[in-house]
């Protein structure tokens, strides 16, 4: 128990240190969670107030009214400039009252048509009904608000639960201990809960991605498809401008082109430019579109013959539609995480779920062998072809993906920096701030180049036998190189075993690795031996077999390194499985 004893002492020491620092730490954590809690509560209160007001208004008396004014007002100061302006008159308790409130919610819209629809439902001079507040008859509404807002209460509730749960857990959660106090007792329900966490996390990710895919990808593409049969109609441009929308992430812009058109002798007005809508960064592109339509001699729009109030200036699918692909990343990542969680849970179902699956395939030259993974109880297999852990193509694809993502994100502020220099107004702080990020981006591009060159390296095929290696057994490894193996100056093959411990530190997850066994099987500079060869080895009698649980692992592997002058070296790891001895 020597090493284990030291390990426990170390753990207990850490735990004591944590307790000493706990009060200050707890206050810090409480402050952190308090922000979540306070923000969540603030929005919760605002939302609940709106919902209560909505519910209360449904008991207000229904009264006849007359629409006095009804129009689409243009409020340029708002990012959603089209406002349904209405005024109506009603009699309540023998007194005449006027109100300008349509409903409790905001009546401002990005698109003209939505405001126009309300005008059409409330024409001037028409009779209607309104709902009057009996406690304050001057207050009335024409329509009740929907209860959709009630669903949004879930969002601040999550913040309140995280904040409140975090504060409660910080001060009141105590882990049950066994009476001997050496280690926590096995908590019920703890087993493999991370699998469920992964599935739920992935589900939220995938659901969010799917939710955003509809308005950004599915609906625009579907509308574009439907609009192929819409009628091309001349239109008259009334006004053009670029709207600014301020948010926490900075200012975004959208095109606002208001146009009139006549369809079957009826006049209509719209401001729908395309089917994607929304706003994005980049002012110049939007201004260019606006200028283009401002100078256009014979503009046309496309009108839905089934609903002539619906029209669009650009019905085709454009590069802008590509933004709809972005949420698909969330869908793919979410599904991958869910699959990972399901695989993690299913792994535990077997008796030996803690035994890593061998990354190997059975030697095709040996007929009659099972195509299924070996059971360590089932006796030996002669030879197994090893599959590299991260082949060069996989490394290249991963680097390209990371590089594209990183440089894609970095390119946004970089384009802003370049724009600043072009216009003679350089943003020096942003320029200096971005330098480290640009260096990492350049490093990733260099890494892609390096890994691309590595694709042309000689490839090694390794086989190992017997297939059921266990502590105390002897084995043999064979290798053959394809490609120009003479380029390799020296070849080294090692048998390595290491511990791998994964743990959380704050919000980060780290994995520490430590090698406890290393033996060089081959080290040669002779070309013939580099090209092909065999070597024998033995697994120590008293050592640990392969083991893999969620956070802890004993990994056995073959490490192959080939040194090539002035070129990326050959470097591969091949995981092998060392089985426990068969029970006799």
């Amino acid at each position: 128990m020597g090493v284990n004893f030291r390990l426990q002492q170390k753990t207990q020491g850490l735990s004591a240190g944590t307790q000493n620092a706990s009060v200050a730490g707890k206050i810090g954590i409480t402050l952190f969670f308090s922000v979540f809690f306070a923000m969540g509560m603030l929005f919760e209160v605002l939302l609940v107030r709106e919902i209560v007001r909505n519910i209360t208004s449904r008991s207000w008396p229904k009264v006849s009214c007359t629409i006095l004014e009804s129009s689409v007002a243009d409020d340029s100061s708002q990012s959603s400039p089209y406002h349904f302006a209405v005024k109506y008159q009603y009699v309540y308790q023998d007194k005449t009252w006027q109100s300008e409130r349509y409903q409790f919610q905001n009546n401002n819209f990005d698109d003209y048509q939505s405001a126009q629809k309300l005008v059409n439902t409330c024409p001037v001079g028409a009779g209607s009904v309104c709902y009057v507040n009996p406690k304050n008859p001057a207050e009335a509404i024409l329509r009740h608000s929907s209860f959709v807002l009630a669903f949004f209460i879930l969002i601040p509730t999550v913040f309140v639960l995280i904040g409140g749960g975090g504060i409660y857990g910080t001060w009141f959660y105590k882990k049950k201990k066994a009476p001997d106090g050496t280690a926590p007792r096995t908590p019920k329900g703890r087993i493999n809960k991370s699998g469920w966490v992964l599935v739920l996390f992935g589900l939220v990710f995938a659901a969010a991605g799917s939710g955003f895919s509809y308005p950004l990808l599915v609906r625009p593409l579907w509308n574009s498809r439907l609009a192929r049969s819409w009628v091309q109609t001349p239109c008259k441009i009334i006004s053009t401008r670029v709207l600014s929308h301020d948010s926490d992430d900075g200012t975004t812009y959208s095109v606002d082109i208001l146009y009139d058109y006549v369809f079957k002798d009826h006049a209509y007005r719209s401001n729908r430019y395309d089917f994607i809508g929304g706003s994005s960064s980049g002012y110049d592109g939007k201004q260019a579109i606006v200028n283009h339509y401002r100078q256009m001699n014979n503009p046309v729009c496309y009108v839905d013959p089934g609903n002539p109030s619906s029209a669009v200036l650009v019905r085709a699918v454009t590069w802008k539609n590509a933004i709809g692909l972005f949420p698909l990343i969330f869908v793919v990542v979410g599904l991958a995480v869910m699959i990972g969680g399901i695989v993690s849970m299913s792994r535990r179902k077997g008796q030996q779920w803690w035994l890593p699956k061998a990354q190997s395939s059975l030697e095709p030259a040996s007929p009659g062998q099972s195509q299924y993974p070996l059971s360590y109880l089932s006796g030996g297999q002669d030879s197994i072809i090893l599959v590299p852990q991260n082949p060069p193509v996989k490394k290249l694809i991963i680097l390209i993906a990371i590089g594209a993502f990183w440089n894609g994100v970095v390119s946004i502020p970089v384009s802003q920096i370049i724009g600043g220099f072009k216009t003679g107004h350089p943003e020096w702080f942003l320029t200096l701030f971005m330098i480290p990020f640009e260096i990492v981006g350049a490093g990733l591009i260099a890494g892609v180049g390096y890994q691309f060159l590595a694709l042309f390296n000689p490839r090694f095929t390794l086989n190992i036998g017997p297939g059921n290696l266990h502590p105390g057994s002897e084995g043999q490894i064979g290798w053959t190189a394809r490609g120009r193996a003479q380029r390799i100056r020296s070849l080294s093959i090692k048998l390595i075993a290491r511990e791998e411990a994964t743990y959380r530190k704050g919000t980060n997850t780290s994995t520490d690795k430590k090698t406890f066994f290393e033996k060089e099987l081959v080290n040669t500079r002779i070309v013939q031996e580099i090209t092909a060869g065999r070597a024998r080895f033995s697994i120590p009698q008293e050592t640990m077999h392969s083991f893999e649980s969620e956070h802890n692992k004993i990994a056995w592997l073959i490490e192959l390194r080939g040194d090539i002058a002035r070129w990326p070296d050959v470097s591969q790891e091949y995981h092998i499985t060392i089985y426990p001895k068969a029970i006799v």
Partner: protein, 123 residues
């Protein structure tokens, strides 16, 4: 004084994989526990987040406030008890009766002693 006890046959705490672990458990509580059970499990300790593998659980029917029950487990082929610089794997018998809990660590390996990943550190 702990009201729970685990007595392994022959007072043995070192076993080879595949061998039987037999014995008896006792508890002396103030009142009848809702549930009493004995688990054979392993868990990891050290730098990595703790992982647990429950191999077998025996639930004792109709437990009395003071009771004695026998148990008989068969150990699987692995994993072995081991100790390294980052990870240790510990086998244990865990008795739970009502709100009380007791653990009795055992060693599981072919040689009957914990595998030391760094034997030179012990030497």
């Amino acid at each position: 004084m702990n009201p729970l006890t685990i007595d392994i046959e022959d007072m043995n705490t070192s076993f080879q994989p595949g061998r039987a672990v037999r014995g008896q458990v006792q508890w002396r509580l103030a009142e009848e526990p809702e549930k009493a059970c004995l688990r054979l499990l392993w868990y990891t300790a050290g730098k990595g987040t703790e992982d647990v593998g429950i191999v077998q659980t025996v639930e004792f029917d109709d437990p009395a406030a003071a009771d004695t029950r026998r148990f008989d487990f068969t150990l699987p082929a692995g994993p072995y008890s081991f100790s390294g610089q980052l990870i240790s794997l510990i086998w244990t018998l865990e008795l739970e009766a009502g709100r009380e809990c007791l653990r009795q660590d055992i060693t599981v390996s072919p040689a009957g002693r914990e595998i030391a990943l760094y034997p030179e550190a012990i030497a």
